[in-house]
């Protein structure tokens, strides 16, 4: 580490992992550069439909993070960019970033999507080689030898709807007569050596003359073209849209509108099409197969396979896993951040042939720049976090399942897109072969996981759960679906996962333990037949209508290349190599890692690691925190004078034509002028664009506006932007309201423009009425006590204490035992074979020797008060004295212990021991262990059962494998039999499991419901019997010892939890604020947790989580003051009846009765839901922005008349 490090961190990979790291770091005072190679951040999570085990909508929970990252002052997004080189060392790296050309200016683009809408190209063209400007290819267009006629059984019926008019310019006409010959309606008058003219009565406006007139003369002029002022391409698109509606009944019939020929000749260049009596003639060798003619054809008369004899190459939408098509100009996905398209260099006609250019002509803000060049940039940072994520296994490598051959065999990620409401089928589960709704659907697990044959020896850890989720959601979408999941072991090892699987079973999902070896397709029905051996050893044949392959996850070649640039060590699968005690540090100092690239894992673990990596990457930079931030300087806020008149400004947005194409924006604006209080109106093309925002500030100033209403798009994405503009203009930001006339009007009522306009007027009126009632709200600021209280001194607590001390915070570490260390004192070795003893020793030394950490052993918390940033906690020390400590955040690391239930003779017989006992024997008494002739292990002994621990303890399977291997190492002759339900050796633990089987350890599955292991235990002899389903026979064992995997049970925290108001689940583990995205946060602000108090986990996972919890706490502790939202509930104390209704109603337990004997709601703790406001019988609680008068104003103004009456009419 160098002396003068930089307070900036680069994150490579903008999935959920990179986003979480970025937010934690940026909120802790570091400058963040977030590099993502895709056009937008979001990663794999953005592609998912729902998430397990809560079935939360993935996009709904991830999009607020996308928006927050996109808007954060201290996060610089570098999308569509790649790392090219990394030089330097920890503290000061120089990273070279290649920023690929988007051909769209990110700063100007407003994300309206019009470019994508008008782009006619939908196929990868065969562009001429060499490019046309070098060789005059166009000249040869008339010499085509291969022509084909496109016709249909329906005779062409020429349309004249919305016709364009054509005329011949006398001066330009060369008198050649080509137009005359081209016209199919005898509408062109021409005689040799005379100027042609068009007989308007006969003309249908097909433009055949226009296309036929040679390029060098251009004598046929087109007029009366709506949108023709933009470009011909835009005009063709507009007319096509109109004709599509008018001719909806004419599918498959040529209506001779001529759009295809004009498109091909005048916009795209190849001039491959000509109108004929029977339809269209195509020059096969001239067609570039771009598909533009098909996109404008209003009746689907044209089809790509008729146009060319080349192989059509549809442009597949990568985000939808290639299940539908995209345009060369493409916004990655609807909620993308940045919502800026990329123009594809491969498929864009403009970039390849210089024709077209339609998108540039529709863009109202001039964002499209075909001349844009890629750039390279060097950025200096102190640390790097590498979170590139994963890709899915290529299912074609397991050819026996027929993926890529049989249309109804899809991968799980494809199925995820089929389930998604914003996916290619709008969330309808339909078969790719025929679009029908499948009834029987099978999931095949472990495709590209646990498979040595294709070098995927590891378990992908997430597939059992996502398959369960997909089956669950599929049934939610269509109750007729009968899902079957074929699996080897059900690895639902995470928190609440087993419950989820149980619920799935109750919900009609069938689990069949069997691997299917091959899929056969019925070529007529496209149904799929599978064969497998069932639990009774009987061979079964079953037919399914659709098969989903649960593909594993893997590291991409691109990521391996990147890792090489970063010079970090990878294992043979491409996962990062890390140490069990520093799980987030790579082999290169200063480079950290998180997410599935650090071993397969699900979203909560990824999020937790991401926070952990933020901690690891920033701890050594703590002294330069805040040195590279940009601070906003704001003008003094104006204070409203008493009796000041309302001066409301209303901005009605066109959103390009997103709103204006349906809603009459001028009408809405004119109507706004009639509303009481409105003194200024405007109708910007794009209200959110940077220049509009600058103008808005000037307008507020110039017109002395004191309220602003924007009628535009969604407040979820845009309200923060407008509110910050208000604040920059010196207005309180709550003097604002928004009407969503895009999503709620133009988007959902495109076919009813009048009603959409009426609704826009109403929504705008309601927003104006509400703004008139707006009150300025203050965002309270509190001082932050920059120290952390850690409760629990095990590995989690000690690691957290050290990490927090490294960040420069004071730490109070409270441990109830006489010595630090916790449960790990009883364990011997980590999963990667390292001894715990020296690690614990050094950890304890460091904690005790750190001057920032104050350790209290034999101590307990007895009272606790305060709120985030300023807690006060009373602890009792061994001397019996109590002590009050002040701190800004709390970290709970109370841990768990090994469960010791009275089963199978445990706690009674010496020969029956737990895995922890066995490990102690193996390590401490190896000579004694060597003597063991035979050992039986029973997994899930008192785990996953109702009487004892009703959950999976996650670590026991790996523990059993590790101990079994150790015994085999000591004595290869020893016999080891493991009786199990599901071997849950997730992730890289699968490698040891395989090793164990190779070493001769027997794994015998048992059925806990029908044939649990029977143990006859006496002091001198053990006899165990179990039915082995693989031979369907009872087998007997008489081992020397019986080892039980009993699982872990959380330390009793009942009193502590009730004192700190922390919810615990029925098993006694703390409940996180959000199962997916806030895995180490507790629901109350300022409280965090780490380690086994959260749920069972191993030591590496515990350390990563401790780092995560400190990163989360650092977002609070690193601030001098905390600023809270202005929206919180307040009690008017004079009229409070102290009825306790609010105390009972609040889901967060915030209201309390204070010393003045009235209810008091601490603004720092209030979450702003408004439940107490509604419940209070005396109506003495109010909440800013959502007061009764606000809501009443909205309700009243809904009704135009009632509103006019109240406001004196207009």
């Amino acid at each position: 580490m160098i002396d003068n490090p930089l307070g900036a961190i680069m994150i490579v990979g903008g999935g959920i992992s990179g986003m979480q790291s970025a937010l934690d770091l940026a909120n802790s005072g570091f400058k963040v550069y977030l590099v993502e190679s895709a056009p937008a951040i979001g990663g794999k999570m953005a592609q998912l439909d729902k998430t397990f085990p809560t079935n939360d909508c993935s996009m709904c929970i991830v999009s607020p993070k996308l928006v927050e990252v996109g808007r954060h002052r201290n996060i610089e997004l570098l999308t569509h960019s790649d790392v090219e080189a990394v030089a330097g060392e920890a503290g000061r790296f120089t990273v070279t970033i290649a920023n690929h050309a988007r051909y769209v200016d990110v700063l100007k683009c407003t994300g309206c999507g019009l470019c994508e809408m008008v782009c006619p190209v939908s196929f990868q063209s065969y562009f001429p080689e060499p490019p046309p400007e070098v060789e005059e290819e166009q000249q040869s267009k008339k010499k085509s030898k291969r022509k084909a006629d496109i016709t249909s059984s329906l005779t062409p019926r020429p349309t004249s709807e919305q016709k364009w008019s054509f005329r011949v310019d006398e001066d330009l006409c060369s008198k050649c007569g080509l137009c005359h010959r081209a016209c199919l309606h005898e509408a062109v008058q021409w005689q040799r050596k005379e100027v042609a003219s068009i007989i308007q009565d006969k003309c249908t406006g097909c433009g055949a003359c226009y296309v036929a007139c040679p390029e060098k003369f251009q004598a046929v002029i087109v007029e009366d073209v709506p949108d023709g002022d933009k470009s011909l391409g835009v005009a063709l698109h507009s007319r096509s849209e109109v004709l599509k509606k008018i001719h909806a009944e004419d599918r498959g019939r040529c209506i001779r509108c001529g759009l295809c020929t004009i498109m091909c000749d005048k916009v795209m260049g190849p001039s491959a099409l000509k109108l004929t009596d029977q339809g269209v003639e195509v020059k096969l060798d001239a067609c570039q197969v771009c598909g533009s003619c098909i996109s404008v054809c209003p009746t689907d008369f044209l089809a790509i396979d008729k146009l060319t004899d080349k192989e059509p190459q549809p442009l597949l939408n990568e985000f939808n896993e290639g299940l539908d098509q995209r345009k060369p100009v493409n916004i990655f996905y609807p909620q993308a951040v940045p919502r800026v398209p990329v123009i594809s260099e491969e498929s864009c006609v403009k970039l390849n042939t210089d024709f077209c250019g339609t998108c540039q002509t529709i863009c109202g803000v001039g964002a499209i720049d075909y001349k844009q060049l890629g750039s390279s940039r060097e950025i200096e940072v102190g640390s790097i976090i590498f979170s590139p994520g994963i890709e899915v296994f290529d299912a074609k490598l397991r050819g026996e399942y027929g993926y890529g051959e049989y249309p109804n065999v899809v991968t799980s990620i494809e199925f995820e897109r089929l389930l998604s409401a914003s996916g290619p089928t709008s969330g309808t589960v339909s078969r790719p072969s025929d679009g029908s709704h499948p009834r029987k659907v099978a999931w095949v697990q472990c495709v590209g996981s646990r498979d040595v044959s294709c070098n995927r020896d590891y378990c992908s850890s997430v597939c059992c759960m996502y398959a369960t989720k997909e089956a669950f959601i599929a049934r939610e979408h269509d109750a007729n679906i009968e899902p079957t999941i074929f699996y080897i072991d059900m690895r639902s090892f995470g928190k609440n996962f087993d419950n989820y699987v149980e619920r799935a079973k109750e919900n009609g999902i069938r689990y069949q333990r069997a691997m299917i070896s091959r899929v056969f397709e019925d070529p007529i029905s496209n149904d799929l037949e599978v064969r497998y051996i069932d639990q009774n050893g009987v061979r079964q044949v079953e037919t399914f209508e659709m098969i989903v392959l649960s593909v594993g996850i893997q590291v991409s070649d691109k990521t391996r290349g990147l890792a090489e640039q970063l010079d970090i060590e990878l294992d043979r699968f491409g996962f990062a190599v890390t140490d069990g005690f520093t799980p987030l540090a790579t082999s290169r100092p200063g480079v950290y890692v998180s997410g599935a690239f650090n071993g397969p894992k699900d979203i909560p673990e990824t999020v937790s690691e991401a926070s952990g990596a933020a901690q690891a990457a920033s701890a050594s930079l703590a002294k330069v925190r805040g040195t590279m931030l940009s601070e906003e300087t704001l003008p003094q806020e104006k204070i409203e004078e008493p009796g000041e008149e309302l001066r409301i400004g209303v901005f009605v947005c066109h959103c390009g034509s997103n709103i204006a194409s349906v809603v009459d924006v001028e009408d809405v604006e004119a109507y706004a002028q009639t509303l009481p209080g409105v003194v200024y109106t405007d109708k910007p093309l794009y209200t959110c664009s940077q220049d509009s925002q600058e103008q808005m500030k000037d307008i507020i100033e110039e017109h002395q506006l004191n309220r602003v209403v924007v009628a535009a798009c969604s407040p979820t994405t845009h309200e923060p932007l407008f509110m910050s503009t208000l604040r920059q203009a010196g207005l309180n930001k709550y003097y604002f309201d928004m009407a969503n006339i895009r999503d709620h009007c133009s988007w959902v009522h495109p076919t009813e423009p009048e009603k959409a306009t009426e609704k826009s007027r109403r929504l705008m009126r309601m927003a104006v009425a509400n703004a008139a009632q707006a009150k300025p709200l203050t965002e309270l600021e509190f001082d932050v006590e920059s120290s952390l209280l850690v409760i629990g001194g095990g590995v989690a607590g000690m690691s957290a204490a050290l990490e927090a001390a490294d960040q420069g915070f004071g730490v109070y570490l409270v441990e109830q035992q006489p010595r630090l260390g916790g449960q790990v004192r009883n364990l011997k070795r980590s999963w990667d074979g390292q001894d715990f003893a020296p690690f614990l020793e050094s950890l304890e030394m460091k904690v005790l020797g750190n001057e920032n950490i104050k350790v209290f052993t034999n101590a307990a918390v007895i009272d606790q008060g305060g709120f985030v940033g300023s807690f006060e906690t009373e602890i009792i020390t061994p001397t019996g004295g109590s002590r009050i400590i002040k701190h800004g955040a709390i970290l709970l690391a109370t841990g768990a212990t090994e469960s010791r239930p009275d089963i199978y003779g445990l706690n009674e017989l010496d020969r029956v021991i737990t895995q922890t006992d066995f490990e102690q024997l193996l390590i401490d008494e190896p000579t004694q262990a060597q003597e063991l002739r035979s050992v039986v292990m029973i997994q899930c002994a008192g785990s996953r059962c109702e009487e004892h621990l009703d959950y999976c303890s996650r670590v026991c399977c790996n523990h059993a494998v590790k101990n079994g291997l150790k015994l085999k190492q000591l004595n290869p002759e020893a016999r080891v039999d493991v009786l199990y339900r599901d071997m849950r050796c997730y992730g890289l633990g699968e490698l040891d499991y395989r090793q164990a089987r190779l070493a001769g350890i027997n794994f015998i599955q048992y059925d806990p419901a029908n044939a649990p292991p029977a143990v006859e235990a006496a002091q001198d002899e053990l006899s165990i019997s179990v039915v082995d389903p693989s031979i369907n026979h009872q087998i007997e064992f008489t081992p020397d010892i019986l080892v039980l995997s009993t699982g872990m049970t959380p330390v009793d925290t009942e009193e502590l939890a009730s004192m700190l108001r922390i919810p615990r689940n029925e098993h006694g583990f703390f409940i996180e604020a959000h199962a997916k995205l806030r895995p180490v946060d507790l629901p109350s602000e300022g409280l965090f947790m780490a380690g086994t108090a959260h749920g069972p986990k191993n030591v590496s996972e515990t350390i990563a989580q401790a780092q995560a919890a400190v990163a989360r706490a650092t977002t609070i502790l690193s601030k001098k003051k905390l600023k809270l939202s202005g929206v919180y509930s307040t009690v008017e104390p004079d009229n409070c009846a102290v009825c306790l209704t609010c105390v009972r109603a609040c889901p967060y337990g915030v209201p309390e009765i204070n010393e003045e004997h009235t209810a008091y709601i601490n603004p720092a703790l209030c979450q702003g839901c408004g439940i107490c406001v509604a419940e209070c019988p005396a109506k003495v609680i109010s909440m800013g922005r959502f007061e009764d008068k606000n809501l009443a104003a909205k309700l009243q103004s809904y009704n135009e008349k009632a509103y006019a009456n109240v406001n004196g009419g207009d």
Binding site: D49, T54, N55, D56, C57, M59, C60, A421, S422, S426, G427, P715, V748, V1127, A1145, P1147, Y1148, Q1167, G1168, C1169, G1170, I1171, V1173, A1174, E1175, M1183, F1186, D1188, L1191, A1192, L1195, Q1196, Y1198, N1199, K1201, A1202
Partner: protein, 112 residues
């Protein structure tokens, strides 16, 4: 728009009818999935009480209804809205609107 359907109380729902609504739709998170833990369950209870009040004062109980949706279910929301409009169209104008000059207002939706 409200932070949570839990913010709604009976008087607000009744005020909507007073202001000319023929029907009121309350749309909250899925039960068990409330962003604010249990606000939607409280809202449901209040909607039920308004249902009874509407019945007592003979405005018609079916004019108020609670729906539960996740934020990702746009199509379902549209289906619910259409269903509710259908119901209200069948019941017809609210007696309050009838009494007032017979000048009716279309269906009102209150979203959250």
């Amino acid at each position: 728009m409200l932070p949570c359907t839990g913010r709604i109380d009976e008087s607000l729902l009744l005020k909507a009818f007073e202001n000319g609504a023929d029907g009121v739709m309350v749309v909250g998170c899925l039960e068990g999935d409330c962003h604010y833990v249990n606000g939607n369950i409280r809202a449901r209870a209040r909607v039920e009480r308004v249902y009874q009040i509407l019945e007592q004062i003979e405005i018609g109980p079916d004019r108020v209804r609670m729906y539960n949706l996740s934020a990702g279910e746009g199509a379902k929301f549209a289906a619910f809205a259409n269903e509710f409009v259908e119901i209200i169209s069948t019941i017809g104008q609210s007696p309050i609107n009838k009494a007032r000059s017979g000048n009716s207002q279309p269906v009102q939706e209150v979203e959250s």
